[in-house]
């Protein structure tokens, strides 16, 4: 899947992804939680998707940053799902979604602190040991830091190193965070462990206040994010790239054009450079 371009399999576009000539991803991504244990119509859609495309999975509920214990029953089910669907890349968020034993169904920011680094790295290692594979953790968008004692880039670097895991580099999230917290996105990219990147996410977002962007996955990718993507891929090896779109699927040709634009950028930088260097 290296250098390929995929799209998240959402129910709203499942038929088009499986049957139409409008969208041609090289691979698809599932959120396992949306498909695990499900029968009937959606199970058949999942089976068709797995037969047609290579599959990556992007988890929502592992809650790697939670203070409480990992949910081992869930992780056991997850392992079965990943194996059954021949999942090539599994990623999760560097955040927490569970607190006081209650699930929250969104991504809360972990305090950027040394003890949190140790705690999260330890949990990632346990999950990796059980799943029998390295996982990729995603740099999440966040709207406020909470009780930080180090920078975001220090936090991410430390965890990737201590957990010996991979990084899912969400380029849109870097842009969003740089805007929201007033730092230079390219400097941040330079600070990332790019040799550990296994996967890239690209997405649209929404600016809701003068100084605040929310990571919505509901709009087209803006040019500055494409620019940041181009800047990033020149500095690293080829990996799969995913277009995240969670809603607003009315204009499928436009979404298809985004896939094509990503392919074109990849072709310009990765294929040319890596062909030349062979």
């Amino acid at each position: 899947m290296k250098g390929s371009v995929g799209i998240g399999l959402r129910r709203d576009i499942a038929d088009e992804v499986l049957s139409s000539d409008i969208i041609h991803p090289d691979f698809i991504e599932f959120a396992p939680e949306n498909w695990m244990g499900m029968g009937g119509y959606w199970n058949r859609i999942r089976q068709r998707a797995v037969e047609k495309y290579p599959v990556s999975c992007h988890g929502l509920s592992l809650s790697l940053g939670s203070p409480e214990e990992l949910d081992w029953n869930f992780i056991k089910d997850l392992k079965v799902f990943l194996d059954e669907n021949k999942v090539t890349v599994f990623s999760e968020h560097l955040s927490y979604t569970k607190s006081n034993n209650a699930h929250l169904y969104d991504l809360l920011p972990i305090p950027f602190r040394e003890d949190a680094v140790d705690h999260v790295a330890d949990r990632i290692k346990k999950v990796q040991d059980f799943l029998g594979r390295q996982i990729a953790i995603e740099n999440v968008s966040y709207y406020t830091p909470v009780a930080a004692e180090m920078t975001e880039s220090q936090f991410i670097n430390s965890i990737v190193e201590k957990a010996d895991c991979k990084l899912l580099l969400d380029v849109n999230n870097v842009y969003v965070n740089a805007f929201n917290h007033k730092y230079d996105a390219k400097v941040f990219i330079d600070q990332m462990p790019l040799d550990k990147v296994e996967y890239i996410h690209m997405a649209g977002h929404e600016q809701i206040e003068e100084d605040l962007i929310i990571d919505t996955h509901g709009k087209a990718i803006i040019d500055p994010v494409f620019d940041l993507f181009e800047y990033t891929i020149q500095k690293m090896h080829p990996v799969p790239v995913l277009l995240e779109r969670d809603y607003n699927f009315e204009d499928l040709p436009a979404i298809s054009a985004e896939l094509e634009k990503l392919r074109s950028l990849i072709k310009n930088h990765w294929e040319a450079v890596h062909e030349t260097s062979k």
Binding site: P67, Y105, R113, V146, H181
Partner: protein, 251 residues
């Protein structure tokens, strides 16, 4: 645990704020930003409930519905890792909390359960199907039911009428919900207690209808065997047409 208790407490405070919306003092945050987390978290839960319970939502004022969602999410520690299963926890919470009585909506538990049952049947894991044929006798041959079904018992007929005036219709209602094999669509049928008994008996024992026709006659208080045979034949054929009965078991 490698996490300092102070860090854990900060994380739990943010989590508590997202669940309840009640202000908390968090260190090291950017002013005016943290409320977006409460908004995003609550919207995810609210949207899930809105989609799961459209009839219930339409049956009450928006503010009243919002209070039910808020109460559920702030008081109940949600256990499901899969948000699409959360409506069942919502139903269970309000059943235990006695919300139907408090709101003087005695049908509320039935309505929530009926709407959840539709989701449950639609998404339930696929079940294996024994070999069957479409050739057979509706009474004397063993029937194979579509295994992806549920019969639920309700006190109020929320499946066949709007909630206005439904308080006066308290009784015993049976609803068959099943998943159509080809499309995966959920269908439901209002059942008499007699038909609920017949289907349950076939499913549990695998017997032919003929083998317990005497009990059916007693329950239905029908003396004419010909009438009963015609009725049962029509019942079986109707359910075959609807794909609730898949056919006749292969011997």
């Amino acid at each position: 645990m490698k996490l300092r208790s102070e860090t854990a407490e900060i994380q739990e405070l943010l989590g508590k704020y997202c669940r309840t919306g009640e202000e908390v003092a968090l260190p090291g945050i950017t002013e005016g930003r943290v409320h977006h987390y409460r908004r995003l978290v609550y919207n995810a839960v609210k949207n899930t409930m809105d989609q799961a319970f459209p009839i219930t939502v339409a049956s009450m004022e928006e503010e009243e519905w919002d209070k039910l969602v808020h109460e559920f999410f702030s008081k109940h520690p949600t256990t499901s890792t899969q948000i699409w299963k959360l409506p069942y926890e919502f139903y269970q919470y309000h059943l235990s909390a006695g919300t139907a009585g408090r709101l003087k909506k005695p049908y509320l538990n039935d309505l929530l359960y009926f709407e959840w049952a539709e989701i449950e049947i639609h998404t339930m894991p696929d079940k294996s199907i024994d070999p069957y044929t479409d050739k057979g006798d509706p009474l004397s041959d063993k029937l194979l039911l579509n295994p992806e079904y549920e019969i639920i018992r309700l006190e109020y007929p929320v499946h066949i009428q709007a909630v206005k005036g439904i308080e006066l219709k308290k009784g015993s209602y049976f609803v068959l919900l099943y998943r159509e094999p080809g499309t995966g669509h959920v269908k439901f049928l209002d059942l008499s207690i007699l038909h609920a008994f017949i289907l349950t008996r076939i499913f549990e024992t695998g017997e032919s209808v003929q083998s317990f026709k005497g009990e059916i006659a007693q329950l239905a208080q029908v003396e004419s065997e010909k009438y009963l045979d015609n009725h049962l034949t029509d019942f079986v054929n109707n359910l075959i047409d609807r794909q609730m009965i898949l056919g006749y078991r292969k011997v």
